[in-house]
Symmetry: C2
Subunit: 178 residues, 2 copies
DNA sequence: TTCTTTCTTGACTTTTTGGTCTTTTATGAC
DNA sequence: GTCATAAAAGACCAAAAAGTCAAGAAAGAA
């Protein structure tokens, strides 16, 4: 319902009606609507983090970044609504600004991203750069699926998307090693 | 206020208080909150459209697309909050799906985009492709400003962003002339 | 200045929503 | 089968938000 009509526009009664439970039951599980959002976000973030875990450790920063981009794209493909719920609204803007007030579940995600690239960075990567990496990872799937249909043939996808991904990786490498 | 705390979280009284007018005055101008959103969107869309008008007609589809990308990026840079208000939430998702229910002010924007590329297309471009062009234009600024700070030197921006823009243009050309 | 018309105000009513609490129903131990 | 404990339900209350309207202020014409 959150991705259908938005979090704020969804009333608790909407939720309990669709879930076919009484209101009391809802409040037995969640203190308020925000708690539901947090639970959903945590679940989505944890699955997103899981899906970024590489099968074998990457050889280079480029490989690590490419893997991250692909993982986010795959997650978007499978769970577009949840992805949007996460990165929706002002979060993308916040990520680019200095805003330090990202919610806790997201802080864990940023930390995880930091670990993906830490091995290849000469010195610890500052938080601001990790946030911009996150913004790029959030923005990439939109571009990706604007250029190629999810249903397109694998080869066609690669020919169109490879240059795009390469240029983003190159930009991120420049950002992270600057 | 909408971009500060979100549309739904903003009460009419919040608006009238900050505008320092009575509630009755508000309802003399707008039927409800949604009408304000529509008015703001229309204003933003019309300015965005204006800013996409090229000084001289482009020579090629590539040039036209590059111009559009740059214009959207510039608009985002100047009016990030409004840009986000427009493309926020589920619109990006809608653009990629078959969803035909975009609001009227946005329909005008899509039509305008169609005219930018019409001259270079062999046959009329289907709406679905225009929508994907719009999704790419909406997504691009996020990538752009993730890779380079708005305050960065012009040369640095170009070296990082040019490959990115090129690959997007190439992808869009493939999409539109397929 | 005075009268008419239009605009503005904010107290008031209504509607919606969040959150509570008692009653009822299910579960499981003995 | 009975009792104790936990869970579910939804009527209920309270707060907040939307929306109305009669009284007063401002503007303009004569």
């Amino acid at each position: 319902m959150f991705s259908e009509k938005g979090v704020d526009a969804t009333a608790i009664e909407d939720i309990t009606e669709r879930a076919d439970v009484g209101k009391g039951t809802f409040y037995r599980h969640f203190g308020n609507k925000e708690a539901v959002v947090v639970a959903l976000s945590e679940s989505a973030v944890s699955r997103l983090i899981d899906s970024t875990k590489p099968a074998k450790p990457p050889e280079s920063l480029e490989a690590a970044l490419e893997h991250l981009l692909n993982a986010h794209c795959a997650f978007y493909k499978e769970h577009a609504e949840e992805f949007l719920l996460l990165f929706q609204g002002r979060l993308l803007l916040k990520l680019q600004k200095e805003a330090a007030d990202v919610d806790p579940s997201f802080a864990g995600y940023l930390k995880e991203l930091g670990q993906h690239v830490a091995a290849f960075a000469p010195q610890p990567v500052p938080d601001a750069k990790i946030r911009r990496l996150a913004a790029a990872l959030a923005g990439y799937p939109f571009l990706h699926f604007a250029l190629v249909k999810p249903s397109a043939a694998a080869e066609e996808i690669e020919t169109v998307v490879q240059p795009l991904r390469r240029s983003i990786v190159a930009g991120l490498v420049a950002l992270l090693s600057r």
